[in-house]
Subunit: 112 residues, 2 copies
DNA sequence: CGGCATCCTAACGGATACTG
DNA sequence: CAGTATCCGTTAGGATGCCG
């Protein structure tokens, strides 16, 4: 589960689909920087896990739409919780990191 | 942030430290299967981010203890939320996966 | 006991080109 | 437009050995 959550694109795709169904190309544009391969791969994972539903329209040119399932929307809620926690505490983490790098600088100076 | 959460060992180390401070060796035994390298690496990340506090006792043989900071305990709370969400919904995901693999089997049969 | 340095491989993510 | 196949560089993670 954590593996899934930790996946960079999983988060972004779920967020992109929060406001409604989207076509493959629309997703590709929204997630600027994602390669077709990663997009498809991510969508396959999410589809397999019942988080995203895939609908194919048998027309030419091809048309495929993706949307969150109920489970997917539920997951989006969890991701929101994580996001709000982050907004609340990431400053602390940044402070800690800044302090940590300061100390290692001091160490260097002390040694030098 | 999600990268940190997605890290397998981060989760396990934080959980292991939930009930109190532990020595390096105790952690190594609790997290059966972790290599010394990964344990140290994980602890360094957590220490740098202000999630874990490291206390060194200048004795022989060396003694080092780790414990969660306030921020760390807070993070443990978030991990709990994630865990309870998982317990609630992972069965759904498993069902979805089982169904998905069933269908791919049917596909094979249909092709074969 | 705690921790670091080194080496190595397996896997992941990305770029590209191609198919229906 | 949607999706696949192939190649490749990077890197995460594991095994090993040495030091204070």
């Amino acid at each position: 589960m954590l593996e899934t959550l930790g996946n960079k694109w999983v988060y972004l795709v779920v967020c992109a689909l929060r406001r409604g169904r989207l076509r493959n190309g629309e997703l590709a544009r929204k997630l600027e920087g994602i390669t077709p391969k990663m997009l498809t791969q991510t969508l396959r994972i999410l589809e397999r896990d019942g988080i995203v539903r895939r609908e194919i329209f048998p027309v030419i040119p091809p048309r495929v739409e993706y949307e969150l399932t109920e489970l997917g929307q539920n997951l989006a809620g969890l991701l929101n919780q994580i996001r709000s926690w982050s907004e609340q505490h990431v400053p602390d983490i940044k402070d800690a990191r800044a302090r940590a790098s300061m100390e290692s600088q001091e160490d260097s100076v002390a040694r030098g």
